[in-house]
Amino acid sequence: MDFFQILALIVPAAIVSAAPLILTALGGVLSERSGVVNIGLEGLMMFGAFIGAVFTHYGEQWGLGGGSPWMSFVVAIVAGALFAVPHAVASISLKADQVVSGVALNFLAAGLSIFLTKKLFGAGQTPDIQERIGKGDVPVLSKIPVIGDLFFSNAYSTSFVAVFLAFVVWYIIYKTPFGLRLRSVGEHPMAADTMGINVIKTRYISVIMGGAFAGLGGAIYVASIAGNFTGSTISGQGFMALAAMIFGKWHPLGAMGAALFFGLAQSLSITGEQIPLLKDIPDVYLLILPYVLTILALAGFVGRADAPKASGQPYEKGKR
């Protein structure tokens, strides 16, 4: 097996497993850059996955055919946004500990999504969806030698959506007035307030947008990888997205890069048996790699990662 064949095996698989991570990590970036820690990404993603599975299934029954997953994405975006509201209310208005509130959100998602699955379908899992996001060659681009085969053949359209949205989020955060407000509120809310920026409102918008992204990430995971929703569909991807966000230093494009890298590690642990050199390495090492790297990054061994200054602190007007 030559080097190129190995790449052709790993790279597409990496991009596929990265798409949901990219989107969820972007959700985390939006929320945390505004100063609200979001441990609830896992729960938001889980709820999005549940909504994605349910509405793709219903879409098929309503005769939407191939449009069903895309319709479910729209619903999952709305559902993710709504599901982030309790976290926003608790951690922004009620000044709860943001980590605790995020943990509660994870509990709530796990309980609610399986409770509703049992209620709707009378079983612990949703029916398998028929209309998955298909693989396809991108016209023109797939004809480019080497790169075309690696990135644009047999690719999922959702992966391109994820990469595109990473650039959109980058543009929003760094090139628009709203993005400037979002960042200022996360770095020094009091200064931002003095300058007339509505801290509470900006944080609410950011957290809710973050929820929408994480919800979409979950729905895409179901439509492209899992195929249905059970209690174990989302088990740790949200936390891995959190890791990607930190490893990417709270920057949308950094988070995308980290998510792609973690996707690579995940796909290596699955496809590794087919690759001569990696066959002998126990997959434990590949499985723990993303988490070890994140810790090293935080400790400053792989480029220092610093959180937004005001993240984790509720804002109280007039407090010193």
Binding site: A96, S101, A110, I114, F115, G236, M240, A243, I288, T294
Partner: protein
């Protein structure tokens, strides 16, 4: 009316939160066409109804007490240990390893196995503690990462070195077991074991360390204000590492409840046990105090065990209890809301 302030308020918040959680859980059941009254009746029956249920409730509460203590101990020093889950897993593995591979009389073997679990958990907790003290890395993120490292590593170790048929390790030797035929017989053959004694002992130890020793005073001082502690000559870094070590030890001991008590072996876990995360809920509801934690653990253990009867007798999915627990955490965390509401009522609308 200053009654609502101080001690009473600390008791009021958890009680009101539990009631609100159960109330909203009832509304969810009503909306989804279940009968909340018969469901809650089944739930209560599932907790206290007979000896077996009561035994199972106490059994489920034992690791919850320890994981709650682990979260609370770190909290008292101003640290948020979300890594209880991972520390629990390595503690579980270490205790099972000692239980299988050593041949000692029970008086030595059992304490040795429990201490091995606690030591493994402590070691797993020290890593985030050290990173926090030395590099100022936020412990919430590192402990989450350490959870996954623990999950995959323990699975890898079992698969490589300790595998027995059935995706698990061999059974531990009888001399390292917490199981008690007497307690089982007393509770209509539930899986109740002596772990509850260990858990209550640990609660006493936590109270003693925090409130009756100089070390505990320093730990709490660091929790209140790191800078002031530093100024007063307390070694903040040392206390952070120490707090994470002791917290991890409690978590590791929670793992021994599963390894030496309930299961007598360790399985290859596809996902987390959930006991560590529940510990966050327990410590929050128990207001980080020893007595509160025991009560909260019994409540959550009861809810979990009772939900089984709720599903079989009233047809309500067990996950409803998960929703109720999530709501309780939200309400306790948002105690600002309850404080605001009570002040409204007691002061007749005036702030």
């Amino acid at each position: 009316m200053n009654l609502i302030k101080g001690r009473l308020f600390h008791i009021l918040v958890p009680v009101v939160s539990v009631l609100l959680g159960l109330l909203i859980g009832g509304i969810i059941m009503l909306v989804s066409n279940y009968n909340p009254i018969s469901a809650y009746a089944a739930l209560i029956d599932g907790i206290f109804g007979n000896g077996y249920n009561l035994g199972e409730t106490i059994r489920a509460a034992s690791p919850l007490i320890l994981s709650g203590l682990a979260v609370a101990f770190a909290f008292r020093t101003g640290l948020f240990n979300i890594g209880v889950e991972g520390q629990l897993l390595v503690g579980w593995l270490a205790s099972v390893y000692v239980g299988i591979h050593f041949d000692l009389p029970k008086v030595i073997h059992l304490p040795f196995a429990i201490l091995a679990g606690a030591a493994a958990g402590a070691l797993w907790g020290v890593i985030p503690g050290f990173l926090k003290a030395k590099f100022k890395v936020h412990e919430v993120i590192t402990t989450i990462m350490m959870n996954y490292i623990a999950l995959y590593t323990t699975n890898g170790i079992i698969r490589a070195y300790m595998l027995a048929p059935g995706e698990r390790t061999k059974d531990i030797k009888e001399s390292a077991s917490l199981a008690s035929p007497w307690l089982q017989q007393l509770t209509e053959f539930s899986r109740l074991h002596y772990g509850i004694v260990v858990a209550i002992l640990a609660a006493v130890i936590m109270w003693f360390i925090l409130w009756k020793t100089t070390t505990g005073y320093e730990l709490r001082a660091v929790g209140f204000n790191q800078h002031a502690s530093q100024y007063a000559g307390i070694n903040v870094s040392k206390n952070i590492v120490l707090a994470m070590a002791i917290s991890g030890a409690f978590a590791g001991a929670a793992g021994t409840m599963e390894g030496l008590g309930t299961y007598q072996y360790m399985t290859i876990n596809n996902a987390f046990t959930g006991v560590g995360f529940d510990g966050i809920a327990v410590s929050l509801l128990g207001a980080n105090g020893s007595v509160g934690i025991i009560i909260a653990a019994l409540l959550f253990g009861g809810l979990k065990i009772g939900s089984l009867t709720m599903q079989s007798a009233a047809g309500v999915p067990t996950e409803l209890v998960g929703i109720v627990i999530a709501l309780i955490i939200f309400f306790v965390a948002s105690s600002y809301l309850i404080r605001w509401l009570t002040n409204r009522f007691t002061k007749g609308g005036k702030i």
